[in-house]
């Protein structure tokens, strides 16, 4: 026998480990970057990090290929060919910044609104927003409008927080977890970790999704719902639970506005509004006295049942209205089963199972706490059913109300902010009333009058000019979408091209692939970006774009400001922005340059500091006119947002050394973060860990930490009064009135209690001609368009067939290798098909953003992504088909403006096999060349 070779089983792993934060998606895990000879050798999860606790997904583990991708931009670029050609020359940073200032300075001095500054997958919105505010343009937002604003806004208005960055299931204690359609990166690793833990604890999971892949593949029960009907399914369960009295009355009475009295006189100008006292506080009947009392009065025990008559007007508690609505036969399982594609018995069974677990398996923790009415509770009662949802339910034109319906279901079960239920992550909960209102007052040469984005509470908060026209280029906070809390990035190019509500001069974007996978109507957008006026000038005169990579959008800009990779930059994952906290702890984190760039690139946020100074913008210059911040790291360390509060809450300067929460500027703060593994965390005290909105134990701690300046306990808003105010305006009440053509829609959709209505596309197209729903999903191993430039990840998802359910597969006699023509009312594509049985029978789907434009991302023109890959985006338009009323209606949710990607209806027919997917677009010239043919990656010896 040959002797066994001698192996070194303890080789040196690396010279050094540098701990920073991943940026391969929005999950923002902690990573250990192993260095050899000053190069990145291996990336793994950081075991101490609150988000991922050591694990790391495929994207994160492939970070080394992202960091070294051949598609990285190398230097600032100036366009030399026509827009869309990809022809550029490299220029110096001084030339690039001078060019930018030449465009931006006159705009700022005369018409700040002629700059539209929109950022995509920006993780620094509190900074980019601050910059835009200093510039003075009202036109700023990030990508939330085409992502999940329905979920965020519905959550904030209803309960002061939603899922993902706002809240999460109580994974250790929940026993039944129900997951509705979810975008994979919206809590990527924590969901996987949570599902693993749930199963380990013997818990069960129900997946509600037309497609049974990923999380739904491991769900104990799968509900293959018809797209766009989730709200109906949820309200049918609300019906069943209310009808059976399987609701948490004590919780509803104390912690929600179910007990608040509503004016029920249709002739009153207060119809549908809360009865308020002289201090403006909504009124309840106190069960102790039978008399009116403010909702938050000391010792008050709100009554869910009692009505009140004052000055001839009947006022009933919100709960009565809920009973009237949801006990109606319209919401009975039998009435909704066919539309939802779920048998009535199954709807009842799931509702019954929720009731069984919530009430029969109640859990209690021996943790005393005190509520805002001064009542002392000896224990914490928990209802161990929890929910999570994201884009699947929110990216519909009925998404806002559907998300509200889901929160209503959670709340009537008494399972929000309780043990085993859904929990908020600090600095949430934070009610809509504690957020800013939107601001849009422009003064040339000066800052905007306040932060751009916020929450409207009635028509008076809309951003309209004296003629009633929208102040913002994306028409956010107009009557078309009064609660558009994240703006409407998907409408910017379309509106700017149309010059409606006005023309702009410069479109400035960051990290948003708006000429490809992030836009609806891709071909149309290309025309808008390249269209010229009668003088031969571009209709959108200037486009500045910043990206780290040679994305499809680069070709359509005039000036490119090349960003760094995520391992070459400073960042802060700030509590002022989209935090990474856990329900039991407040946390934030940094990125820092674990390697220096080897190209002439700069972190975009540092470039904004420089531009802000060159433009003399408030907040970016000192009194003597010199630049206030050397770079973004300088801003992170030294910027003060409110007294004691800066971008990072950890390691602030206190009297006795570094402290978390409030504190002075600590010049060594970034080094302190690096020394601590790249993050900071402080745990929520045990008696403040649940019931956060209502708990004085939590509220006092939150003020101490600097989340807000005074305690602000609140109750959940099952009835959202601001919705009623917009609805009332549509009924003719009040001075600020909507345009006639929007009245009927506002009356219907701005309902203060959750409703369900058909997705708009279903009412606008002939559903007999277009009988099939078409969706996209994000692969777990890819993030938007980024994964494709990654040599390892593109081997996992290198092209994307259209997955077709058995019924449609057989009806078309499809066979393996076949292609299909897929048409919507807007256009058609020709794509490869594949059979999938585990799919709603009327739904087809494909992976999101795998298809690539030839020439982009440093890929060869024969790349599978550009020949067999495709986008569904070609079938989706930012506007609805004309209705014959002379108006064009946006393909968006009428409340928030969220892009209704998943309303899409199509028809399918077998096609001849083309050479490549259709529509095929001409190649763009790559500004970075192409990647090498072969890789054998090893940095160590």
């Amino acid at each position: 026998m040959i002797p066994q070779p001698t192996l070194d089983t303890s080789p040196k792993v690396s010279d050094e480990v540098r701990k920073t934060t991943c940026y391969m998606c929005a999950c923002r895990c902690g990573i250990n970057v192993h260095m050899k000879d000053g190069k990145v050798a291996y990336i793994e999860g950081n075991k101490d990090h609150p988000v991922n606790q050591g694990v790391l997904c495929a994207k994160g583990s492939a970070g080394i290929m992202q960091h070294n991708a051949p598609s990285r931009l190398r230097a600032p670029l100036r366009r030399v060919g026509p827009r869309g050609s990809g022809e550029f020359e490299e220029i110096s940073w001084e030339e690039a910044l001078t060019q930018a200032v030449d465009w931006l300075k006159p705009i700022r001095e005369k018409h700040p609104e002629k700059l539209a500054f929109f950022t995509g997958r920006d993780q620094s919105q509190s900074f980019t927003g601050f910059w835009a505010q200093g510039f003075g343009t009202p036109n700023f937002a990030a990508h939330g409008g085409f992502c999940s604003v329905n979920m965020a806004a519905a959550g904030i208005y209803t309960m002061g927080g939603a899922f993902w960055e706002f809240g999460q299931p109580d994974w250790d204690r929940t026993k039944l977890f129900m997951l509705f359609g979810v975008a994979e990166d919206h809590d990527s690793n924590p969901i996987k970790m949570g599902i693993g833990r749930l199963k380990q604890n013997g818990g069960r999971m129900i997946g509600v999704n037309p497609i049974r892949t990923g999380y739904n593949a491991v769900a104990d029960d799968w509900v293959g719902i018809t797209p766009g009907t989730d709200g109906l399914f949820i309200l049918a369960m609300v019906h069943c639970l209310m009808k059976a009295g399987k609701i948490d009355l004590d919780y509803l009475a104390r912690f929600t506005n179910a007990s608040v009295l509503v004016n029920e006189d249709p002739d009153s100008d207060q119809f549908g509004l809360f009865l308020r006292d002289a201090d403006g506080q909504p009124q309840v009947i106190d069960r102790n006295t039978g008399q009116l009392a403010p909702w938050n009065g000391k010792g008050v025990e709100p009554d869910l049942a009692a009505t009140h008559r004052a000055r001839g007007v009947t006022h009933r508690p919100v709960f009565h209205q809920m009973a009237d609505r949801y006990l109606s036969a319209d919401y009975a399982p039998e009435a909704v089963a066919d539309r939802c594609g779920i048998p009535a018995e199954r709807i009842r069974a799931i509702a019954a199972d929720l009731a069984r677990v919530a009430f029969d398996e109640e859990i209690t923790l021996d943790r005393p706490w005190t509520d805002f009415r001064g009542k002392k509770h000896g224990k914490m009662v928990g209802r161990p059913v929890s929910f999570h949802a994201m884009r699947g339910i929110s990216a519909h034109s009925n998404g806002f109300q559907t998300c509200r319906a889901l929160h209503t279901l959670q709340i009537i079960l008494g399972s929000v902010e309780v043990p085993g239920g859904m929990r908020f992550k600090p600095p949430y909960p934070k009610p809509a009333t504690a957020h800013p209102k939107p601001h849009g007052k422009v003064t040339p040469g000066h800052a905007l009058d306040g932060p751009h984005l916020g929450y409207t509470h009635g028509p008076e908060d809309l951003l309209l000019d004296d003629e009633g026209n929208p102040k913002r280029i994306d028409k956010a906070y107009s009557w078309e979408n009064p609660m558009s809390a994240h703006g409407l990035m998907h409408m910017v190019i379309s509106n700017a091209h149309a010059g409606v509500p006005y023309k702009i001069d410069t479109l400035f974007m960051y990290m948003a692939n708006m000429s490809w996978n992030s836009s609806m109507n891709v071909g149309g957008v290309h025309k808008m970006l390249t269209d010229k006026d009668d003088n031969g000038d571009y209709v959108i005169p200037h486009i500045i774009y910043s990206d780290a990579y040679s994305s499809e959008m680069v070709a359509y800009a005039d000036l490119i400001l090349p960003d760094t990779t995520y391992l070459e930059r400073h960042d802060c994952i700030s509590l002022l922005d989209r935090p990474i906290c856990e329900a039991d702890g407040v946390a934030d984190a940094i990125r820092w340059p674990v390697v220096e760039p080897d190209r002439d690139v700069r972190g975009f946020q540092s470039v904004l500091c420089d531009l802000g100074a060159r433009l003399d913008m408030p907040g970016f210059v000192n009194e003597d006119g010199s630049a206030k911040y050397k770079d973004y790291a300088d801003y992170i360390t030294n910027h003060i947002r409110r007294p004691g509060v800066g971008p990072l809450a950890g390691f602030r300067k206190g009297e006795d050394g570094p402290q978390g929460g409030r504190g002075d500027v600590n010049p060594d703060q970034i080094q302190d973060y690096i020394d601590n593994g790249g993050f900071w965390i402080e745990h929520v005290p045990e008696n403040a860990a649940y019931y956060k909105p209502f708990s004085m134990d939590y509220q006092d701690w939150a003020v101490k930490m600097g989340f807000f300046d005074v305690v602000q306990p609140y109750i959940f808003q099952l009835y959202v009064e601001p919705l009623r105010k917009f609805q009332a305006a549509a009924e003719g009440i009040g001075e600020r009135q909507p345009p006639e053509h929007l009245r009927a829609r506002l009356k219907h959709t701005m309902d203060p209690l959750p409703i369900w209505y058909e997705p708009f596309e279903d009412t606008a197209v002939d559903v007999d001609e277009y009988p099939v729903h078409a969706l996209t999903q994000r692969p777990m191993a890819m993030y938007h368009s980024w994964g494709t430039q990654n040599a390892w990840l593109r081997q996992i998802h290198g092209h994307n067939p259209l997955y077709v359910p058995t019924k449609i597969w057989e009806a078309n006699s499809f066979a393996e290798g076949d292609w299909a023509k897929v048409s919507s009312v807007h256009g058609s594509i020709v794509v490869p098909v594949a059979h999938q049985a585990s799919l709603n029978e009327n739904t087809v789907w494909t992976w999101n953003a795998i298809g690539k434009r030839k020439g982009a991302w440093a890929l060869g023109e024969d790349a599978s992504e550009a020949n067999k890959g495709f986008l569904l985006n070609h079938l989706i338009h930012e506007l609805m088909p004309p209705k014959g009323d002379g108006l064009r209606w946006a393909n968006s949710d009428p409340v928030t403006g969220q892009a209704a990607w998943f309303d899409l209806r199509v028809k399918i027919e077998k096609s001849d096999v083309p050479n490549e997917t259709q529509p095929a677009m001409p190649a763009i010239k790559s500004p970075v060349g192409k990647g090498p043919a072969e890789l054998d990656w090893k940095v160590g010896k």
Binding site: L7, P11, C57, C240, R287, Q795, W937
Partner: protein, 253 residues
């Protein structure tokens, strides 16, 4: 042609939970990252940025649809790498002795300096778990991260295969399947862990845990008492509410 050592008492291997694997490919890429940088030649990639790329991976996740006689179709994610078989046909077929099974812990490895890239082992493996690296011309396979699990330069908690350390769902477990008291052996016993293709007679060390039964929520009639109506409409509901509220602590004032 190459002999197997006598069976070792220690049988290191993986236990993979098919009930929990969500098919995220984290293990696939973490493995690629560690093993391209460490043991032997790097794992190369061809057409890395063009055409249809293909490269060497030591672990891949496949997905299979299962159509039960009744009920909805199911999707099973199935990660697959070398199973470190006790009767490893890839070892006995090797003409040079490059392929070998370690006497002390049963890990099957390829000594790359002796590998001539003939591919016989890949042909002999019934699981398709070996891949010939197109650039280096040597056979690559799962090493069970032999350069991690004993590595004194790593903290003790990190001395496990990269795929196990990174798995977000906790679907992968590493340990000694020769020790019936080990956590992995207990898990196999509790959950009915099974051998992949036992009829091949390879006696794989790695085990798979089966998916739990799906779509078996009790029929509604079992759950019906939970939805016994207390009212038929809003008016009846308010009547019930009055009574129910009186029954609450502090009620009936």
């Amino acid at each position: 042609m190459t002999q197997l050592p006598p069976p070792s008492a220690k049988k290191l291997g993986l236990v993979i939970d098919l009930d929990t694997c969500v098919g995220c490919h984290a293990c696939v890429v973490s493995c690629k990252g560690w093993n391209t940088e460490n043991y032997g030649a790097p794992l190369s990639d061809q057409n890395a940025y063009s055409g249809a790329a293909s490269g060497t991976f030591l672990n891949r996740v496949h997905s299979y649809e299962v159509q039960p006689d009744e009920g909805a179709a199911q999707l099973i994610h199935f990660p697959k790498s070398c199973l470190h078989c006790e009767d490893a046909p890839c070892v006995t077929v090797c003409p040079t002795g490059a392929s070998y099974k370690r006497a002390e812990d049963g890990i099957v490895l390829v000594n790359e300096s002796d590998c001539i890239g003939c591919g016989l082992c890949a042909w002999a493996c019934p699981y398709g778990a070996r891949e010939l690296d197109a650039k280096e011309g040597v056979m690559k396979k799962c090493t069970l991260c032999v350069d991690r699990i004993y590595n004194e330069n790593l903290p003790e908690e990190d001395r496990q295969p990269a795929c196990v350390r990174t798995c977000p769902a906790g679907a992968r477990h590493f340990g000694d399947l020769g020790d019936e008291d080990s956590d992995v052996s207990k898990l196999v016993a509790e959950r009915g862990g099974f051998d992949l293709m036992p009829e091949q007679g390879t006696k794989p060390v790695n085990k798979y845990l089966p998916p739990r039964p799906k779509d078996e929520m009790p029929e509604f009639d079992v759950l019906a008492p939970y939805l016994e109506p207390i009212a038929q409409d809003g008016k009846g509901f308010v009547g019930w509410l009055d009574k129910a509220l009186s029954a609450l602590p502090g009620g009936a004032k």
